[in-house]
C-alpha cells in the first residue's frame, strides 16, 4: 500500500502565540487506511486537520500528497463536528457545495449528489431544509457532502461528538460500511477512546505542549469487530492508561 499523504516535521503556530500548538509531527496515511487521532481537548487535533486540509499554513515542515489531481474531484474533504449545513440551502444543495467549481456536468453532479445521499441513507431527503433534520441526519448530510467530491482522504473532526450514544453507535457502523464500500482513507479525530479503537486501524495519541504524537497503537482486531471484543478492549485500556498518565504529567489540558 502507498501513502497518500505524508507529513514531515509539521508544526503549527498561531499568530501572537510564543509556542507552537504542535511540532515535529510525522504522519503518513496509507490508501484505504482508517487512522484515528485522540488527545485531550485543546491538544491541537482540529488544528492538525486544518493544516492537512490546507486551511492553515504550517509554520514548519512539509506535506506531500500522493494524490492524482483531477478537475472533477477534490483530494481531501472535511467533515465537521457541528455538521455546518447552510440553512438557506436544501439538503441536496448542501451536498452540492464542493461540486460547485469542479468540472462536473449537471447530470453527473446530480448523480453524485444522489449517490452520496444514498450512501448515508438519506436518498429521499434531498428536498428538505437543514432545519427539518435531526442531529444524526444533519451529520449524515455533512458526510455525504464530503463523499460527493470523491476525495481520497476524508478528514473527520469529532463528527459524532455531539450525538446521543445510540445515534453515535449507528453512525459509527454506517461509517465503517461506507469506508469499506468506498475504500477512502479516513483521518478521524475523537476524544472517545472506545470509538477510536472500534473504528481505527491505527490510533495516534496526541499530547504535550507543544503537542506531538506521543504514541501510536495498531488495532489488530479483525473486522467486523465487536465493541466488547477482547483485542479492541485491550488497546482501548492501554490508550486510556497512557492518556491519564499524560494528563497527570500536565501534558494535556
Amino acid at each position: 500500500m502507498a501513502a497518500i499523504v505524508n507529513l514531515n516535521g509539521i508544526a503549527a503556530t498561531f499568530p501572537g502565540a510564543e509556542k507552537p500548538v504542535f511540532a515535529d509531527i510525522d504522519l503518513s496515511i496509507e490508501r484505504g487506511e482508517f487512522v484515528i487521532v485522540v488527545g485531550a481537548s485543546g491538544a491541537g487535533k482540529s488544528t492538525l486537520l486544518r493544516v492537512i486540509a490546507d486551511l492553515l499554513a504550517p509554520s514548519a515542515g512539509t506535506i506531500s500528497h500522493e494524490i492524482e489531481t483531477r478537475t472533477d474531484r477534490r483530494e481531501i474533504a472535511m467533515v465537521f463536528q457541528e455538521a455546518r449545513l447552510m440553512p438557506w440551502r436544501k439538503v441536496s444543495d448542501n451536498v452540492a457545495l464542493g461540486l460547485e467549481g469542479l468540472s462536473v456536468s449537471v447530470d453527473a453532479r446530480n448523480q453524485r449528489i444522489a449517490d452520496a445521499l444514498k450512501l448515508v441513507g438519506l436518498a429521499d431527503y434531498g428536498d428538505r431544509w437543514a432545519h427539518e433534520l435531526s442531529g444524526g441526519q444533519r451529520q449524515r448530510v455533512g458526510i455525504a457532502r464530503g463523499l460527493a467530491v470523491d476525495p481520497d482522504l476524508l478528514l473527520m473532526d469529532e463528527p459524532f461528538g455531539a450525538l446521543d450514544a445510540i445515534t453515535r453507535q449507528s453512525l459509527q457502523d454506517e461509517l465503517l460500511r461506507i469506508w469499506e464500500e468506498t475504500g477512502k482513507s479516513i483521518l478521524f479525530v475523537t476524544h472517545d477512546i472506545d470509538e477510536a479503537v472500534y473504528l481505527g486501524d491505527r490510533v495516534l495519541l496526541l499530547g504535550g505542549a507543544p503537542a506531538k504524537v506521543v504514541r501510536s497503537y495498531d488495532v489488530d482486531a479483525p473486522r467486523p469487530r465487536s465493541r466488547e471484543g477482547e483485542d479492541v478492549g485491550r488497546v482501548g485500556a492501554q490508550v486510556k492508561a497512557d492518556l491519564s498518565t499524560l494528563f497527570d504529567e500536565g501534558g494535556g489540558i
Binding site: 486540509a53 486551511l55 477534490r74 474533504a77 472535511m78 465537521f80 457541528e82 455546518r84 447552510m86 440553512p87 438557506w88 440551502r89 436544501k90 457545495l97 464542493g98 460547485e100 467549481g101 469542479l102 431544509w129 432545519h131 457532502r145 467530491v149
Partner: protein, 248 residues
C-alpha cells in the same frame, strides 16, 4: 373571519364614525377638521383635475431614485466596512459624527447644491435610507458564522468573491432585507418633508392646499401616502418571504 379581522375593521369604522360625528356637530370649524364623508369627492376632483397622478408620480420618482441609491450605497458600504477591518477603523468616528444628523437637516445643503430639483428631494431621501442600510448590513455581515466561511473554503470556495456568493450574502440576507424594509418606510417619511420646499410632489401639493385651508385635500394626500407605503411594504414582504423561504 377571525376575531382580529372583525375587531380591526370595527376599530377603523368606529374611528371614522366618531370623526364624522365630531366634524358634523359643528364643535370644530369645517376647515380645521373636514368630515371623512367629504374625502371621496375631493379625491375624485384631484384625480379628474390631473393633480393626483401627477403628484404621486413625481413623489414616486423621488422616492425610488432616493431609495434605490441610498439602499445600494448603504448595503455596499456597510458590508465593505464589516469585511475590511481597516475600513471599520476609519469609519468608527466618522459614522458616529454623521449618522445622528437627521436627513431633513440636509435640506439647506440639498437646495444649495442641487437647487429646487428632483435631485435635491432624492438626495434627502437617500441620506435617511443610507444610514439604516449601512448599519443593518454592517451588523448582518459581522454576524456571519466564520465556521461557514471556513466550510466553504475547505470545499474550494476561497476567494472573497466566492465567500460572498456562497456564504456571506445568503447568511446576511435576512438582516440586509430587514434593513431594506425599514428604509422603505423611512423613505416615505422623508419624501413629503423634502417636497415641502417647492419640489413638485405630494408634499408640495399638501403645502399648497394647507395655505388655502383646503384641509380635505391635505387629508386625501396623507391617506395617499399611507396607501403607497402599505402597497410598497406589502410587495416587499412578499418578495422577502420568497427569498427567505428557507427560514421556518
Amino acid at each position: 373571519m377571525s376575531r382580529r379581522t372583525l375587531l380591526g375593521a370595527g376599530g377603523l369604522f368606529a374611528f371614522l364614525l366618531i370623526w364624522e360625528l365630531v366634524a358634523r356637530s359643528g364643535v370644530v370649524e369645517a376647515t380645521l377638521l373636514p368630515a371623512p364623508s367629504k374625502l371621496p369627492a375631493t379625491l375624485i376632483s384631484e384625480v379628474t383635475l390631473g393633480f393626483w397622478h401627477q403628484m404621486v408620480l413625481a413623489s414616486l420618482n423621488h422616492y425610488l431614485i432616493g431609495l434605490i441609491s441610498g439602499s445600494l450605497l448603504g448595503v455596499i458600504v456597510g458590508a465593505a466596512v464589516a469585511l475590511f477591518p481597516v475600513l471599520d477603523d476609519v469609519q468608527s468616528w466618522l459614522a458616529r459624527l454623521l449618522r445622528p444628523i437627521p436627513p431633513l437637516a440636509w435640506i439647506p445643503f440639498a437646495i444649495i447644491w442641487f437647487g429646487i430639483s428632483e435631485t435635491a428631494a432624492a438626495f434627502i431621501i437617500a441620506i435617511g435610507v443610507f444610514w439604516i442600510n449601512y448599519f443593518t448590513a454592517y451588523t448582518a455581515v459581522r454576524a456571519v458564522d466564520p465556521d461557514l466561511i471556513e466550510l466553504a473554503s475547505s470545499f474550494g470556495h476561497r476567494s472573497l468573491g466566492a465567500s460572498l456568493r456562497k456564504v456571506i450574502l445568503p447568511a446576511a440576507a435576512p438582516g440586509i432585507l430587514s434593513g431594506l424594509r425599514a428604509g422603505l418606510g423611512q423613505g416615505w417619511m422623508t419624501v413629503v418633508a423634502a417636497e415641502l420646499f417647492g419640489i413638485t410632489g405630494i408634499g408640495q401639493r399638501m403645502n399648497e392646499a394647507a395655505g388655502l385651508l383646503a384641509t380635505e385635500v391635505v387629508i386625501v394626500y396623507m391617506l395617499t401616502i399611507a396607501l403607497l407605503y402599505g402597497i410598497s411594504d406589502m410587495l416587499f414582504v412578499a418578495a422577502q418571504n420568497r427569498v427567505l423561504r428557507w427560514q421556518r
